[in-house]
Symmetry: C2
Subunit: 166 residues, 2 copies
Amino acid sequence: MEQRWKEEDFLSCSGSNKFAKEMTAVAPFADIDHALRSARNIWFNKVDVNGWLEAFAAHPEIGTTSKPMSQWSKEEQTTAMATANDSTMKELHDWNARYKEKFGFVFLICASGRGSLEILAELKRRYDNRPFVELGIAAEEEMKVIELRLGKFFHSKLRMSSETAK
Amino acid sequence: MEQRWKEEDFLSCSGSNKFAKEMTAVAPFADIDHALRSARNIWFNKVDVNGWLEAFAAHPEIGTTSKPMSQWSKEEQTTAMATANDSTMKELHDWNARYKEKFGFVFLICASGRGSLEILAELKRRYDNRPFVELGIAAEEEMKVIELRLGKFFHSKLRMSSETAK
């Protein structure tokens, strides 16, 4: 079974160039667990705070409709968008702006399966955190996003390689 | 007793513009404790990670002799410089470079009263930390530097205002 991994694949899992480079150096992976373990190790032990900020900056604001967004960001926000009315969207937008003003980066949450009201409540709750604490939480959320996306990639690579082998 | 505080005063305590602005908004202070409490609150609760990195970037590399350095940085490194021989200086320089490569910011330690070998041992020990953990330690060290410098400033302001009052 041959998996062909390119740096761009990892860059679409996380916007940190360091993360993508280190993952490319480790690939290919024995199995999905190997890929996830490598990703956790690289994200938490090798990517520095500048790399974290770079990855955060690659995310669209939750609930935004104005900026171009990757297919994956759209999929992850499906539930949020389906459950949002205009006033929730407005409030999300306002709180996103307050959050970014306080912490210096976009509010990051693994939105998959979460409704807009749940996300808004979480944003308000996290707004009270100290900047350092919030940085750690945002990094954990980014890790969840990486795991989700890496899983999708892994399965599509497996499918491709098994189709090639037929 | 009138203390005249300017934003530049706080900028020479810490290179974060946000820190200096917020301190200026709180000044003047009832006493040194008020000043220190305000500084801790602002540094840990209001300055975001970008502000921390901005403050770190204002420090010279420990043991450096090539860059221009503030009088205060020189004073804080007096013990380190007096106890360093050429090989320690070379090793400090090499480890500083490794540290910066891993963490993305300069190694920061409240050097006041510390010898060069102690600083080098601490640098090697801290090098093994995760980037997020190290960011927190560096911020605590920066806070110690701020406390030292604020104390010096506070006493000089007090002296100036009592001389004016004579």
